[in-house]
Amino acid sequence: MNIENTQSQMRKGVLEYCILSIIKRGEAYPGDIIDEMKSAGLQLLEGTLYPLLNRLKNAEILTYRWVESTSGPPRKYFQLTEKGEAFQALLATTWNELATGVELVTRKPKEESELNNNTI
């Protein structure tokens, strides 16, 4: 069992949720998203971000507009569509369920779980 593969699988699941949440707070261009993810300690390969944004855009979850930049080529600023808002909200509920569930499962005291096992 490759540990890296498992790690990346875990990260990947929440990646979309994180990105959509960042964009939900306000228009963002890929550079912003990467900086924010990195500062939060979430490792993100930039090469993964661009295809993901592209797919979300094709699925009409995101739209973007071009903004001329003074320090380089024009930037794509992304924002959520209505469909995207709904999508993000669904992901949020799923994540919350997941987080509490995982929390419950992983943090459960050892004795209690053994106790449970015994009773069954």
Partner: protein, 655 residues
């Protein structure tokens, strides 16, 4: 020791070590190959390139002279090798819903590379309705505008083709594959920038397409002014409104089907690269010149080109574009080949309006066409008034006294007609020159125009005031006794020539009461002569004249009445009435009239010549009628005699 080269990367000039450049080039090639399978792969690669260019820019800003191997390596690590995100991609593709499964299917079904681009899709990145035309254009590698034009022209049967294609074809964001496209030019526009775009496309001055669009309109206006001296030249040509309206329709169609050039890339496609760079260079150097002169003297020198001054309102928007360093043509730099090749299919898909925006656009078009038609109607009305005013001028002397009233008339005419015409011309000139409008001028001209309105009102009141009081003057005519049974009444024709007050349009025939002038133009000749026949109280014929006129006050009217000349002459039993009532022309038109009253004694008759029929049939003015009624009431109890056409049998009814 390493060789450093300059590359043009995503519109930025970047100094880079040759080895680093090779590394970058290979990396981008790998990325391109990797994403070729995915929908919108080019776009992803382009996004990544943009990011790299930005990172380079940041590095160079921090005082580093050139991009080194290490820089490129660290950037590549942070972005990641294609094989690193390979696994992510495969699985992520199916996650965000059914749409992605579809895209994956397309990716695997289509052969890689060029074949993907050659399949027929609806282009969702550049669309007016469904993107069918744009997709077809992509397939045939032409400008979507031409296909849209074909679809508009053959709307009848291509409509169904369009609908079918809309349903059948799958949407996909496609990159432009033509280097030159027809766009609407936002920097050179009068209405929608259509003509500016056409001019940029064909590299001609923008007034040429504008003139072509406006020509039928101009001819039409000329045709509308029927007294235009050269009008007979255009008799053969039918500049009907149909041609006109079709030009308007063509313009509106163009407005809809031609997208506006928004991004730098689109402007490049619109003008051609060299033209665009030249225009940027001009503008930048002008900006610099202006800024410098502002710095020096604090004022803009008069030497600043007109379009610079005109462009100040939107120059801020352009600054960001202008600041991008213009890059020389790619062919000159073989080293840059791959980067520029990739850049070539970066078409930021134009943000085409959705359904709502389309509706708003439609409303705008309707609004503008209404405003345009309204403005046109206003202008032609003013022109018509101008000419009508000229036609009315001969009548001026009839109603308007010299001096203050004439001054008032000219002032109000100039203000009322001149100001709108001048301001419309100025507005058009400003739009053409793109000069900034000055609200002060608008305010002043509005005030002046209202002043003209007030002057016209005062004048109208003054003229109307002249008809307030009506006065009459009676005179009896000395009569020789008549031997016979009958008095014969005839007309004494006016011996000299006379001229009419004509107001054109053949209207003079409708206005009977307008006077004529004599040869010297010192007298007015009125035809307002009424003949009234009544019973005499004694055994003699009596003839009276009742002159009537109106004036501001009765005294003035009386004075005017004294000046009337209407000399009745008698030759035995023949009574001659002059053809005209003569009045000095200084009086002007004051509803002057004269009523000839003939009293017929019992047993005698009066015979009226048929040339005077008109006089008998006309009712005398109300003041005179009132007078006559008062007069007759005292003496008569019976009905007034009925007057047959040729004679009156009076006397028998008298008590």
């Amino acid at each position: 020791m390493k060789k450093v080269i300059n590359i043009n990367f995503q519109g930025q000039v970047i100094a880079i070590e040759e080895t680093a450049y090779e590394m970058l080039k290979q990396y981008i090639e790998r990325l391109t190959r990797f994403f070729a399978r995915e929908e919108g792969g080019d776009e992803i690669v382009n996004d990544i390139e943009c990011r790299i260019a930005e990172l380079f820019g940041n590095r160079l800003k921090h005082g580093i002279n050139c991009i080194t191997d290490e820089d490129v390596a660290s950037i590549i690590t942070s972005i990641g090798q294609p094989e690193d995100f390979d696994s992510d991609y495969e699985e992520a593709a199916s996650e965000p819903g059914a749409a992605f499964a579809e895209s994956r299917e397309q990716g695997s079904a289509a052969a890689p590379g060029d074949e993907v681009r050659r399949s027929l899709y609806r282009n969702s990145g550049d669309r007016i309705l469904g993107g069918v035309c744009s997709g077809l254009a992509h397939y045939f590698r032409t400008d979507p505008v031409w296909l849209r034009m074909i679809f508009v022209l053959f709307f009848g049967f291509l409509f169904w083709v369009y609908i079918v294609l809309w349903i059948v074809l799958k949407p996909k964001v496609l990159e432009t594959n033509v280097s030159k496209r027809l766009y609407r030019n936002p920097n050179d526009r009068f209405l929608g920038g259509v003509c500016g775009g056409i001019a940029a496309y064909f590299k001609i001055d923008s007034w040429i397409p504008r003139l072509i669009f406006l020509l039928p309109l101009l001819f039409n206006l000329i045709g509308m002014i029927s007294f235009f001296p050269l009008n007979y030249l255009f008799d053969e040509v039918d500049f009907s409104w149909n041609i006109n309206m079709s030009m308007v329709v063509v313009y509106i169609v163009f407005w809809i089907i031609i997208p506006e050039a928004k991004s730098v890339k689109q402007k490049l496609e619109m003008m051609g690269e060299e033209e665009y760079i030249r225009s940027i260079r001009e503008r930048v150097s002008n900006n610099v010149a202006t800024a410098r002169s502002r710095g020096d003297g604090g004022e803009v020198p008069p030497a600043v080109p007109a379009y610079m001054a005109a462009g100040t309102d939107d120059s801020f928007e352009k600054v960001s574009i202008d600041e991008m360093p213009p890059h020389p043509s790619d062919a000159a730099r073989p080293a840059d080949h791959s980067a520029s090749a990739n850049r070539a299919h970066v078409a930021p898909p134009s943000e085409r309006p959705g359904c709502l925006n389309g509706f708003i656009l439609l409303l705008k078009i309707i609004f503008f066409s209404f405003v345009g038609i309204l403005a046109l109607v206003m202008v032609s009305a003013f022109v018509a008034f101008l000419f009508a005013g000229a036609q009315m001028m001969p009548l001026k002397s009839l109603f308007i006294d010299p001096g203050q009233e004439t001054t008032l008339l000219y002032a109000s005419l100039i203000l009322l007609i001149g100001i709108p015409v001048v301001s419309i011309l100025v507005w058009i000139a400003r739009r053409v020159m793109k000069a900034k409008s000055r609200p002060m001028i608008g305010l002043i001209s509005t005030i002046l125009w209202i002043g003209g309105l007030v002057a016209a009102g005062i004048l109208a009141a003054q003229v109307a005031d002249k008809f307030r009081e009506e006065s009459t003057l009676e005179r009896s005519v000395e009569m020789m006794p008549i031997d016979g049974k009958s008095l014969y009444v005839d007309m004494m024709p006016y011996q000299d020539d006379y001229s009419e007050f004509s107001i054109g349009w053949g209207m003079d025939s409708d206005i009977d009461h307008l006077p004529y002038t004599n040869v010297n133009e010192d007298s007015l000749l009125f035809r307002d002569i009424h003949l009234h026949i009544r019973n005499s109280n004694d055994s003699l014929f009596h003839v009276r004249t009742i002159a009537a006129s109106s004036c501001r006050e009765l005294r003035g009217a009386k004075a005017d009445l004294e000046e009337f000349r209407f000399e009745i002459t008698q030759q035995d039993s023949l009574l001659y009435l002059p053809e005209f009532l003569m009045v000095p022309s200084t009086q002007g038109f004051r509803k002057q009239s004269i009523t000839v009253e003939i009293s017929v004694p019992a047993g005698k008759t009066v015979e009226v010549s048929d040339v005077l029929n008109n006089y008998r049939n006309q009712e005398p003015p109300s003041v005179v009628r009132r007078r006559i009624r008062n007069y007759t009431r005292t003496f008569m109890t019976a009905e007034p005699p009925h007057l047959e056409d040729e004679e009156s049998e009076a006397g028998s009814d008298v008590v």
